[in-house]
């Protein structure tokens, strides 16, 4: 393929990636309830309507709550696993990375359905707690990948130097190890939050009547008079799931597919 052909194919590929996103952003400013193209008249009135909608606000609050819960669990478990794998030699060490990536390598519906059958069989109700458990299960790998990449790049000798200079293990962790992994934790946490905030498949199978923001969109997008508000919420969701990614990649340098989602 010639240079020019390559350029054209690349440009077309990026147009393909971005046209739908641009279209949905434009529709959020559509003054009419009818979603025809081209858009006749633009307006910002639906932003106020979405902001005032009680069900949107409740869904947003729930999504934030779940995102924070899942991120917290992922940070604790993901970094513990990263330290164990990077700093120690033990039987089954290779299996851990593979096991952690399973929830995102297997289709989301498998994770969802597995948790759903367990919740059903155990007879525990579907609550915000079961949603957090479901989300944390696939968020752990994101934190794990970020922290382990940082640990691999950083040298242990500065920790040894700290101990040689008389610091106890807590001081070494507080003043040396933690600052080294801090930005990796922030990046991993942001990505985990973005993943959780956007998740719908696992949520559907682990939720009862709870409505997160993606579930709110899914249940309202067929209602013609709700469409303008759905468009606004959609744009909001794009911004809120893309912003952490931008910040995270500034902080950590890379976020590969291995740290990605269902």
């Amino acid at each position: 393929m010639g240079r020019l052909g390559l350029r054209i194919a690349t440009a077309a590929g990026f147009a393909f990636l971005y046209i739908p996103i641009v279209v949905i952003v434009l529709y959020a400013f559509n003054a009419q309830r009818v979603q025809a193209w081209p858009i006749q008249q633009y307006s910002t009135e639906w932003f106020a309507a979405a902001f005032e909608s009680p069900s949107v606000r409740a869904a947003f609050a729930l999504s934030v709550e779940i995102g924070l819960g899942a991120t917290f669990v992922a940070l604790v478990l993901g970094s513990a696993a990263a330290f164990a794998v990077q700093r120690y030699r033990f039987f089954g060490r290779e299996t851990i990375s593979f096991a952690l990536v399973l929830p995102i390598a297997l289709p989301g519906i498998v994770t969802g359905m597995a948790l759903n059958s367990t919740i059903n069989a155990a007879g525990i109700g579907f609550t915000i707690f079961t949603i957090i458990v479901g989300h944390a299960t696939f968020c752990i790998v994101v934190v794990y990948n970020n922290v382990i990449a940082r640990l691999r790049r950083s040298s242990r000798s500065i920790e040894e130097a700290s101990m040689d200079l008389g610091a106890d293990p807590w001081q070494t962790f507080r003043y040396i190890t933690f600052p080294v992994i801090r930005t990796a934790l922030v990046a991993g946490g942001l990505l985990a939050f973005a993943l959780s905030f956007d998740e719908i498949i696992v949520t559907t199978f682990t939720a009862g009547t709870q409505e997160t923001l993606p579930i709110w969109i899914f249940s309202h997008l067929r209602l013609p008079n709700q469409r303008p508000i759905v468009n606004v919420v959609a744009v909001f969701l794009i911004v809120l799931s893309a912003a952490p990614v931008y910040l995270a990649s500034r902080l950590s340098g890379s976020t590969g597919v291995g740290g990605s989602r269902t």
Partner: protein, 305 residues
């Protein structure tokens, strides 16, 4: 590090608290440290995730009593007999797998030139911008991107308007298998670009020069150097494009009028409350993915993830 060593001295001179004595005692016991670090994550995974998968497998062998509509917890093959004997489930499974395969091939074809341009042609600065531009759609809301396509594909939408304007009305795919193919290819494209990009970036420039020195033209170099070296990365990307299509039910629901395996699972579980049947059908993508992952591992995909 910003903290100077002198700042540490007064603190360690103070009488050590209980917590610090515990930490110091722990410091020399490597096995205990490891056990403490591993307990929570492995416990979570073994009990919650692998345990749930086991429960899923067992549930698949239970059945729903149609007269009382309660779940009977005794093992039977009834769900699997239904899956195999009803032609509709075969059609649905076949449709799901076919579209997943076609989407994977489509994404490989679209992703390759983009990844090649990014890895071997673009200068460092445009390259990092392009990298970000691939990353953003990958992470931005999946549901919203499907919804955007629903708006574009719907009657009177952008595609309808486009084909009418260029004088070919009726060519818009509307809601069909073709629209699913289009939307799935769109959704998972970044998952294919990134591994191929990483794979292409790793090929040393000297191999291209050696190939040229030995008389290899563009096509020859591509076929004998690039393709073999990029194959593991391609296999890695295909795990995502294939697996994510296989398990989806949102996209078929929003941009098509046909069903995927996921739709049957979703409806059995959510609408008719037949959890055992849903579990049994969920075993199908698990089995397909297990076979696929074994194949991908032989192609070296796990080293390219």
């Amino acid at each position: 590090m910003t903290t100077s060593p002198t700042a540490l001295v007064p603190k360690s001179a103070a009488p050590a608290s209980l917590g610090r004595r515990v930490l110091s005692a722990l410091y020399v016991r490597k096995r205990l440290q490891l056990a403490l670090l591993l307990a929570a994550p492995t416990g979570w995974f073994v009990v919650l995730y692998l345990g749930s998968l086991a429960v899923l497998l067992v549930t698949a062998f239970w059945f729903l009593d149609p007269t009382t509509s309660s779940i009977v917890r005794s093992l039977t093959l009834q769900n699997f007999v239904t899956l195999i004997s009803e032609p509709v489930y075969r059609t649905i499974a076949l449709r799901t797998v076919t579209i997943a395969a076609v989407v994977t091939i489509t994404d490989a074809a679209i992703a390759f030139p983009i990844a090649y341009y990014m890895a071997r042609v673009a200068a460092p600065r445009p390259r990092s911008i392009l990298f970000m531009l691939v990353l953003l759609p990958l992470w931005s809301s999946y549901l919203v991107r499907v919804y955007a396509w629903r708006v574009i594909l719907s009657p009177g939408g952008l595609l309808d308007w486009f084909f009418t304007t260029i004088g070919l009305p009726g060519l818009s795919p509307g809601f069909s298998d073709a629209s699913m193919w289009l939307v799935f290819s769109y959704l998972w494209l970044p998952y294919m670009i990134l591994p191929i990009y990483a794979g292409l970036e790793r090929i040393p420039q000297s191999l291209f020069e050696a190939s040229a020195d030995l008389g290899g033209r563009g096509w020859m170099t591509f076929r004998r150097i690039v393709v073999p070296l990029v194959l593991p990365a391609l296999a890695a990307g295909s795990i995502f494009t294939f697996s994510l299509t296989l398990g989806d039910y949102i996209t078929p629901k929003l941009v098509s009028n046909t069903q995927f395996i996921g739709n049957v699972i979703y409806d059995s579980q959510g609408v008719s409350n037949n959890v055992p049947f849903a579990a049994a059908f969920a075993v199908v993508p698990i089995a397909i993915m297990a076979a696929y992952l074994l194949l991908a591992r032989r192609l070296g995909a796990f080293d390219a993830l």
